[in-house]
């Protein structure tokens, strides 16, 4: 049937649906990126608390939770901006829909805040103490129990994992969009979130050992991210026609330039080379590689959300 005439015309012209789906605009990828990066930061801070790094006075785990709350709130605000029936947003919290990843996400987000606040309470910033001096007392009591701090670390790691994973499941549960419909998407988003988080924390970490550790970890995350991407495409290319076409959208199709140049090249491979040289003391650490990783992570979400909406089942119908 290769040379056959194939034509499908429709009289439907619903806004943001036709000719190609473009329902989710900048708000969703921005949220997915910020959510993923905060998830990564929670895992990093949680790990630092769990492994006793917080005994160092300049541990990054003390500044991570406050920044996380700000970034996550910005992400949730973007999510709110995306809602087209905004006055009814509270409906998310009068129910729990077991089968809906978005419902899971809404509740996970509610649980993330107390975990971040518990982390802040271990050592509140000076400006917080000024506003609410009683925090010194709480922090003092908390610090008397090392097992509590360890558990706050575990809680942050678990909720970080749930937050990072759900952003992927949200998309991958959509069988209608072949590009999203891979069970590895949550791994990709989680690893990408971890890598962006490691890069971001590396930028402001004051502790030299931590900063070095994060750069090394980031290299590991970037390698894993490349590996996961290969696995995702292997899966797609050996799957059904809609999935093959979805993979081709990124590999050779309309999204190939942005995917290869910005996601793979400037977002993963080049910063990986720079950071490998830096951790091996061939060159000095600069902000360039971390910034490339962070921007690459953001562009990855934009590409996946946009190309995913573009991917569809229609051609499966013809062949």
């Amino acid at each position: 049937m290769m040379n056959d005439l194939l034509e499908l015309t429709t009289t439907r012209h619903n806004p943001h649906v036709d000719p190609i789906m473009a329902m989710w605009e900048w708000q969703i990828p921005v949220y997915l990126f910020l959510g993923g990066m905060v998830a990564g930061m929670m895992i990093i801070a949680g790990y630092f608390l769990f492994s006793g790094r917080h005994k160092e006075s300049n541990c990054a785990c003390f500044s991570i939770p406050t920044i996380s709350i700000v970034l996550l709130s910005l992400g949730m605000f973007a999510l709110f901006l995306d809602l087209s029936h905004k006055l009814y947003v509270w409906r998310l919290y009068t129910t729990f829909q077991f089968k809906s990843p978005m419902s899971w996400g809404a509740w996970i987000l509610i649980l993330v805040y107390p975990a971040l606040i518990a982390n802040i309470l271990i050592r509140p910033s000076a400006w917080m103490l000024k506003i609410y001096p009683k925090l010194t007392e709480y922090a003092g009591r908390l610090n008397q129990h090392p097992f509590l701090i360890k558990n706050i670390g575990i809680l942050n790691m678990i909720l970080g994992l749930m937050l990072g994973a759900y952003t992927g499941v949200l998309l991958s549960s959509m069988g209608s969009r072949p590009l999203w419909n891979t069970s590895l998407l949550w791994v990709l988003f989680l690893v990408s979130g971890l890598s962006a988080a490691a890069a971001f924390v590396h930028l402001f970490a004051k502790n030299k050992a931590e900063s070095e550790l994060l750069a090394k970890a980031d290299n590991g995350f970037l390698v894993i991210e490349l590996f996961v991407l290969v696995m995702i495409f292997l899966g797609f290319l050996s799957s059904a026609r809609p999935h093959i076409e979805a993979a081709q959208l990124l590999l050779t199709g309309a999204y190939a330039p942005v995917f290869w140049v910005f996601v793979i090249g400037l977002g993963i491979v080049i910063p990986l080379i720079i950071q490998l040289l830096a951790v091996n003391h061939k060159i000095r650490h600069t902000a360039i590689a971390p910034i490339m990783v962070i921007v690459g992570g953001l562009i990855l979400r934009f590409v996946i959300v946009s190309a995913g909406q573009y991917s569809h089942w229609f051609n499966a119908h013809f062949h």
């Binding site: 056959d4 005439l5 806004p15 943001h16 649906v17 029936h85 905004k86 409906r91 829909q97 119908h317």
Partner: protein, 179 residues
Amino acid sequence: MPRYGMVIDTRKCVGCQDCVIACKTENNVPVGYNRDWIVTESHGKYPNIQMEIRTERCNHCSETPCVSCCPTGASHIHDVGGVVLITHEVCIGCKACVQACPYDARFIHPDGYADKCTFCIHRVEEGLKPACVEVCPTYCMYFGDLDDPNSEVSILLQSRKWHVNLPDAGTQPNIFYLT
């Protein structure tokens, strides 16, 4: 308990769009939006070309990704006939259901909520046919209970060849096209 479905005879459909206008009128569908539409599909190699004209809308599937993805329960299966509906004042406009539908049958109403074909359940519950079926000048559309073996739709599906849209998407649509 009935399971409502539609059978559309593509050999009779001429694509006149009467069903589209009837739906817009009956359901006050805003200008620029469609709950139903006409698709023309041509395939083959000249001179052996086949063309199918069909009227499409929400398939009121038996497996409903649009319902399971809904975070608030606004998108639901109606008690009567397994019709897929949206409760406007529960919908937050997150668009997950719009993405989840492989047929792209949903849209966001200018008032903010997700919207689509209701099988004119307000008419059906009064014993009337959906507006699109009612007005079809070639009588190419049939509406009825797919679970009743003696219904017009069941008999047509037993006696004629048919297909559904995107069967591989796994949604088990309840709109059938006679070929």
